[in-house]
Amino acid sequence: MRAAIRVLLAATATAALAACATTEGSGDSAKSASAYDYPDTPYPSTYQPYPGVPTALVGATVYDGAGGRIDNGTVLFADGKVIGVGGADLAIPAGYTRVDGTGKFVTPGVIDIHSHLGDYPTPSVDAHSDGNEATAPTTPEVWAEHSVWPQDPGFTRALANGGVTSLQILPGSANLMGGRSVTLKNVPSRTVQGMKFPGAPYGLKMACGENPKRVYGSKGRTPSTRMGNFAVNRQTWIDAHEYAAGDRDERDLGKETLAGVLDGEILIHNHCYRADEMALVMDMGKEMGYRVTAFHHAVEAYKIGDLLRENDVCSAIWSDWYGFKMEAYDGIPENAALLYQAGACVVIHSDSENGIQRLNQDAAKAQAAGARMGIQIPDAEVVGWFTLNAAKAMGIDDVTGSLAAGKMADVVLWNGDPLSVYSRPEKVWVDGALMFDANDPQRRPVSDFELGQPGEGDVK
């Protein structure tokens, strides 16, 4: 408990360093995604949707993730795809299994843009600490997917308790450039390739502030200051430009990642807490020819909502974490609402194997804090904070994140209002396949790690 808190703080501190913001316009993200789906992509996704039955969810309140709300709605999906979303009058084709959602709610699958499941798995023993290659301040050559342990029990809790269907696994924040992220479908798999979200663009995790300068300053190396952070970053980008402008014949793993950023194919996810630093980072992006897709953690984003809107940068945030480290001192629960008021993009993230189970509640908290200061935000918009907005910032919004015909049938049926503390997922579908059902003890994944152990298959 108390010790656990300290561990958490340490983990958070580490994670905090890693989060970065990447921004990708929703318009061209699909192109970016497809550009990475070429046949010689190494470690390619082998994920295939599991079988499902044509399903009609009827009678529930439907939040489509894109700001729409339908009372007594109907959601149809088949062959892994959403077929239609409408009211009670939407015709249900023959052969569909009806699921009565009366008194219940339907949302798109929850998406966590900031997770370390798999690269900091439980049990949280040193042997599992695979999220920070903290041996050099810039490690764009490492890929988070090479650290992900698919048997992390955390994936199963995120599915069953959190309704999470997609998530981005990031390297930690010890380094200025922590490495490539990987986006996963939240399906159990023997291999990480079996979880990789087909076609999702890569991200590059970057980190501002305290973590890199502490980690390397304490080793007597640069960077040891915030100005050192910027100097190392800028020189690294200058060198990357030289590589990118050349023939790129010689393999250089780090430079390939950086060139991918400069090409606009790899999204920048930038861990950054303080407003003044975020403003500098956005200017560094302009100087060096890239843009930040999302600032992660961003506890002071509310101080620069105007700048974030103008630069089209999302803020991936907790509702109310604050004060655990100096650069988090000014965190306030109204952060999300003030960003919303400023017209900037809000994403609710977890950075936690526990918080990922309650992203819906965290968003509700942020909504309520806004309401108390007079900023009224519709429920349907708030649901977008942990669905479509996350998908946009991960470059996968063309295929998931909202309930729209043709999109992946990533769907959660909640037993009540998802913005209430009293609600839990009842059923979760990934690409139309039922992967969790609270009413079926067997329709619940159990990690290899938990077999034969106390509590195997328990409700958790």
């Binding site: 408990m1 108390r2 010790a3 656990a4 808190i5 300290r6 958490l8 703080l9 501190a13 049990p123 949280s124 029990p153 809790r157 308790n161 305290e210 101080k303 909502g305 105007d306 109310d320 974490w321 604050y322 004060g323 655990f324 480290k325 100096m326 001192y329 000014d330 965190g331 306030i332 003030l338 400023a342 194997e353 526990n354 189970q357 309650r358 509640q361 509700a364 908290k365 909504q367 309520a368 804090a369 309401a371 108390r372 200061m373 037993n415 913005l419 209430s420 503390v421 009293y422 839990r424 609270a438 009413n439 790690f449 938990e450 152990q453 106390p454 509590g455 328990d458 409700v459 958790k460």
Partner: protein, 457 residues
């Protein structure tokens, strides 16, 4: 005799009702008394002289007591947060502002947080605004399995934060204890036994007086725990002892059952080992903290009559000692008859207590899961932690004679969208402003057309 002097010196720290306590009544509210019962609609709460005098339906407000209409609001006792580090830390990762642990101190059990509570800590202010009015404050173990002595505090806006100094000793006996003891649980248990043996011997030789382990019903000054560290002037110790004289003295009340021993363990087997301690040290007044696998030994815990301050939503095998953790843990333990409070240390911030309690209510509608009723959930963050802390009937509950710790909420207090609108401690209405509300107000808009934001305060 030195003990007597100390008692007098610390008497001022007792539960003192502030002079500014107001008489007030709140009517037409949904009142939840915190005793485990269901909320009562259209109910009334009356506070006079800093104490609750009535709470419930059909309550007549005495003449002369100012009445406010509580329509649309909920009224509860103040939340009792246990276990916390409130008042001990400004910024967790800024070492010089963090007094939770002392890795390089020569002392362990002797450490006493009462000297270090900062009642103006932002975390106290933020927690107060979230409806927390009382807290158990514990140090973290760092140089030994013994973290030191915790205190009970109120979160009122006055310098008298201490309700009870040296209220409990905190010890680590699971994975953390094993690491701190030199590398194994075995070492931790050996260290504990040796320490209690040394303390027992020390206590006998010093002739330390007896006394209750929990505060007396009426605070007279005599009920303040003595500080046994100062009883003897002799600083010499035998050469084969491991504890400093101060540490040994601090453990005398523990081994004598006069100071509760909070034991952090998670694994079912570790819980059993803790319960078995009383075969060797029959007077130990044990409280188990953590207990992720408590549900597996719930009947044994209940039979031993040992209360538990349990992690509510821990459901991952973060450590090998937590393999069987589940959110149903508290519900299952309660069903077995264990007295269980929600552990405030097992969440990012104590202000999440109400939401964690709400999550346990949510489990009641999840097939195969075991949750709490709404009333039980509120009790797990109000009356039950107060009882475990030795303040049963006096804190964490709205009933005649209890402290006037009252929170008025804008909705269901366990719901994530709700927040307090008024908070009283000992009948005194509390300010709810803090660093966060200042930032909120300053950045309500980003207009700097006339002056920089720095002038907006």
């Amino acid at each position: 005799m030195i003990g007597r002097t100390l008692l007098a010196a610390t008497a001022a720290l007792a539960l003192a009702a502030p002079a500014a306590a107001q008489d007030f009544a709140i009517t037409n509210a949904t009142v939840a008394t915190g005793d485990g019962s269901a909320p009562i609609e259209n109910a009334t709460v009356v506070v006079r002289g800093g104490k609750v005098v009535a709470a419930g339906a059909n309550v007549q407000v005495p003449a002369g007591v100012p009445v406010s209409d509580g329509s649309g609001t909920w009224v509860t006792p103040g939340i009792f947060a246990t276990v916390t580090d409130l008042g001990l830390v400004d910024v967790g990762a800024v070492g010089e502002s963090n007094d939770t642990s002392a890795r390089n101190s020569p002392f362990s059990a002797a450490l006493d947080v009462a000297t270090s509570i900062n009642h103006r800590s932002q975390h106290i202010l933020v927690s107060r605004a979230a409806g927390i009015t009382r807290a158990a404050v514990a140090p973290s173990a760092a140089s030994s399995i013994f973290a030191g002595q915790g205190a009970m505090i109120d979160l009122g806006d006055d310098p008298q934060a201490l309700d009870r100094a040296r209220a409990f000793q905190f010890v680590e006996l699971g994975e953390t204890g094993g690491r701190l003891a030199g590398g194994s649980r075995t070492a931790a248990h050996t260290l504990l036994r040796n320490a209690l043996r040394e303390a027992s011997r020390f206590g006998e030789e010093s002739g330390l007086a007896g006394g209750p382990s929990r505060p007396a019903e009426v605070s007279t000054g005599d009920d303040i725990p003595i500080d046994p560290r100062l009883v003897e002037s002799d600083a010499e110790r035998a050469t084969d002892v491991l504890l400093t004289r101060f540490d040994a003295a601090a453990l005398v009340p523990v081994v004598a059952g006069r100071q509760p021993l909070y034991v952090h363990v998670e694994r079912a087997a570790d819980i059993r080992s803790v319960l078995a301690l009383r075969q060797e040290f029959p007077r130990l007044d044990v409280v188990i903290v953590g207990a992720s696998e408590g549900w597996m030994v719930a009947d044994e815990i209940a039979a031993a009559g040992v209360p538990v301050i349990a992690d509510a939503l821990t459901d991952l095998p973060a450590r090998f000692e937590q393999l069987a953790s589940t959110q149903s843990n508290i519900g299952r333990m309660q069903d077995a008859g264990v007295k269980v409070a929600i552990n405030a240390a097992a969440m990012e911030q104590p202000r999440y207590l109400a939401h964690f309690a709400g999550n346990l209510v949510a489990l009641s509608s999840v097939p195969r899961a075991t949750g709490l009723s709404w009333g039980e959930a509120l009790a797990s963050i109000t009356s039950i932690p107060a009882e475990i802390s030795g303040f049963g009937g006096r804190l964490g509950v709205l009933k005649p004679g209890a402290a006037g710790d009252v929170v008025v909420w804008d909705g269901d207090p366990l719901e994530v969208s709700s927040a307090p609108v008024r908070v009283y401690v000992d009948g005194v209405e509390q300010p709810l402003e803090n660093h966060q509300t200042g930032l909120r107000d300053r950045y309500r808009d980003l207009d700097e057309s006339e002056l920089p934001k720095a002038y907006d305060w």
